[in-house]
């Protein structure tokens, strides 16, 4: 069997998604002379049909919503459609926008094809989408059945099904359609009843191809896609927004839809990519790594909420994009002596709050850089996973407390050795010195540096690290404060 999944009035469904729009509605294509492309049932009831201009549509009913096409949403709907089809079978063809066909011959036969179809339609309905699903012995019959049904159709007998279809269900060229009409043939069954060889000789190769398609005897090979469906949602605002409230509202709905898809595929979110197109044409982007990958809606939403609550943008948002990088859920086996954080995602959220309070680059796990440059350090966003190092490395001396920034001081020297120090920070006679420790680096480029360091102890008890660059002396830090 083959399954065909169809989103009827695809472009209209995409334009209407995430909008509270009741009553007659139509989608218009700016690139096709501004004519209506698709209309809903309420609009059709008012005699508004595709091909009219917006002015003609409004002349029939002033309340009609004329919506522009939403390419971002169309892409998202296609992803959702493929995701659902890939849930049925790994062999899926993306036939056209809003339409895909899945080859079910490799999967076990379900107890009821109708039951399976209802399940798929219900999943689309959960995302406020109307879908048609059809099962048939060939891809082309499945497609014809999906187009002819409002929800679920199952074709068991190919010839009986095809025989009952009107000729108008086939996309025929106008000369062929005209000839059949002139012959008084209205259904495919009547057409198939004609002597095949004579009829093909009279009507040509197009008729042969069409009849081959509807006979149910040929199964065309599907153009299979690679099953990598991105978990994305997008929305373009009609007007610029000034507050974060609409963004948060939409993000929650985006995440609701995306987490449901993740859970259906037994997958978890590893990373969130947030994109906010701005009114100057640029896009604000931010990536959030999920400390403990999850598909929990509340956890993922809190991460975005915490970030947006402290976000200040110079330009106003005109859209919203959210992409989830999904991964497999894998259990973590802890080492015997390793103790993990109790609530890793909660901790990640606390880190986000701290960064919002103190600024980026103020919170993290410190590390060393491969340089002797004074005060060079790295800052990792999270504890390393292989942190269970049981052996303690030897360390020497009293750890330095660094002055950031260094403090300029007046130093009196004798034969190049500091003997007295005077400043607001510390003052006194030097009673012990160690140094000089001459350091330099990056000699190969313009960022080269050179310094001379001294460790000194003053008569008042303070122990300091001094640095000298030319005639300038600075206190770099203290082993013992004054």
């Amino acid at each position: 069997m083959f399954a065909c999944l169809l989103l009827p009035q695809f472009r209209l469904a995409a334009a209407l998604r995430w909008r509270d729009c009741h009553g007659p509605a139509a989608v218009v294509d700016d690139h096709a002379k501004g004519l209506l492309l698709e209309v809903n049932e309420a609009a059709a009831a008012k005699n508004i049909h595709p091909g009219l201009t917006p002015a003609q549509a409004m002349a029939r009913d002033l309340r009609v919503h004329i919506l522009p096409r939403s390419p971002a949403q169309e892409e998202v709907l296609n992803h959702i459609l493929l995701d659902r089809a890939l849930g049925l079978s790994p062999d899926v063809e993306a036939t056209s926008p809003g339409l895909c066909v899945a080859d079910l011959r490799r999967r076990p036969k379900p107890p009821s094809w109708h039951g399976l179809g209802d399940e798929v339609v219900a999943r689309f309905a959960a995302e406020k989408l109307r879908a048609s699903v059809a099962f048939a012995p060939t891809p082309d019959l499945a497609l014809l059945a999906a187009k002819g049904t409002g929800s679920v159709a199952v074709v068991y007998d190919a010839s009986a099904f095809a025989g009952s279809l009107p000729v108008g269900a086939l996309e025929l060229s106008s000369p062929l359609a005209g000839t059949l009409r002139a012959w008084g043939i209205t259904t495919i069954g009547q057409w198939l009843a004609l002597p095949r060889a004579d009829m093909i000789e009279r009507l040509g190769s197009e008729a042969a191809a069409v009849l081959q398609k509807v006979s149910g005897r040929s199964k065309r090979p599907l153009r299979l896609i690679r099953p990598t469906v991105p978990y994305t949602e997008a929305f373009d605002f009609e007007h610029e927004v000034n507050t974060t409230e609409p963004l948060l509202f939409l993000l929650r709905r985006f995440l609701g839809s995306l987490t449901e898809r993740l859970q259906a595929g037994h997958r978890v979110a590893r990373c969130l990519q947030l994109g906010i197109p701005l009114d100057d044409g640029s896009t604000y982007g931010r990536s959030f790594t999920i400390p403990a990958p999850t598909s929990d809606l509340d956890v993922l939403f809190r991460i975005l909420d915490t970030h947006l609550s402290s976000l200040r943008l110079e330009q106003r948002p005109v859209g919203l994009r959210l992409e989830i990088e999904a991964g497999e859920q894998n259990g973590n086996q802890l080492g015997l002596f390793e103790s993990a954080l109790r609530d890793v995602n909660g901790f990640g959220e606390t880190l986000a709050r701290l960064k919002a309070l103190l600024g980026e680059g103020s919170v993290g796990v410190p590390g060393k850089l491969d340089t002797f440059r004074p005060d060079a350090f790295a800052l990792a966003p999270m504890f390393p996973p292989d942190a269970a190092v049981l052996r303690e490395e030897p360390a020497y001396g009293i750890p330095l407390r660094r002055c950031r920034p260094p403090i300029f001081v007046t130093v009196e020297t004798k034969a190049g050795i500091p003997v007295r120090l005077d400043s607001n920070f510390a003052r006194g006679t030097v009673v012990e010195t160690a140094g000089p420790f001459r350091l330099s680096g990056d000699w190969w480029d313009e960022q080269r540096w050179r310094t001379e360091e001294w460790d000194v102890e003053l008569d008042g008890g303070a122990m300091l690290r001094l640095s000298r660059s030319g005639a300038e002396w600075k206190v770099e830090g203290a082993y013992e404060l004054c």
């Binding site: 080492g335 901790f347 606390t350 103190l358 009293i398 330095l400 008890g461």
Partner: protein
């Protein structure tokens, strides 16, 4: 009985009432956790969890106490938070195994540092939190009510909050440790573990006779 004594008695009876009504909400402080500093571990059994400990005195001594705590963090595999109000932590002087155990939070003012500690206590993931206020001039700007709030917050958890300060500032600290100077310039060649072993410190616990309260400013 004077007014403060009466107030204390009423507070005790109120606490007893809350404890009786909500037993699960009450965690008794007093569990001790060794930190790998022999002078401290042998004399008091380690740091108090679910309580605030203040370390005052010499900055070098406080740094060595932090070194002992980080050494224990590597051995036992736990992580700690260091809220650095003066941005003075110098990663180059610490072994990488210990750095991997620290969440370093850099603040420019005590007010932000206090807020950061508040976040981390409420988060509850890190069993040890160190608030480094040494060398901070505006230390007196932290209101006393902040410390009382921290007492109540950590009492509900197993967190040991350690405040490093040049002079006593934490009102009602459960334990106060006065550390003495850790050595002279020549100590830079000694193994840090030996310096920790030689630390001289005085330990005062709440309820003991010689408890040192912070100086109060008179209006």
């Amino acid at each position: 009985m004077n007014a403060s004594g009466e107030m204390g008695g009423r507070l005790d009876s109120l606490r007893a009432l809350v404890e009786e009504k909500f037993p699960s909400r009450t965690v008794r402080p007093g569990r001790r956790r060794r930190i790998g500093c022999r002078p401290l571990d042998e004399r008091s059994g380690g740091l108090l969890t679910g309580a605030v400990t203040e370390v005052t005195g010499s900055s070098s001594g406080a740094q060595l106490l932090l070194a002992a705590l980080l050494g224990r963090a590597v051995q036992e595999g736990f992580q700690l938070g260091l809220v650095d109000a003066s941005r003075s932590f110098h990663p180059a002087d610490w072994p990488i195994s210990q750095l991997n155990r620290i969440l370093w939070v850099m603040c420019n003012e005590p007010k932000l540092a206090v807020q950061a500690v508040d976040f981390l206590i409420r988060d509850g993931n890190l069993p040890f939190l160190v608030l480094d206020l040494q060398g901070v001039r505006e230390i007196g700007k932290v209101p006393a009510s902040t410390w009382h709030r921290f007492h109540r917050l950590v009492e509900q958890s197993e967190i040991a909050l350690v405040v490093l300060s040049s002079k006593p500032v934490v009102e009602g600290a459960a334990m106060r440790i006065v550390v003495h100077r850790a050595g002279h310039l020549a100590a830079r060649l000694s193994q840090r573990r030996e310096l920790v072993e030689q630390l001289e410190l005085q330990i005062f616990e709440r309820g003991a006779v010689e408890f040192v309260e912070p100086e109060r400013k008179t209006a």
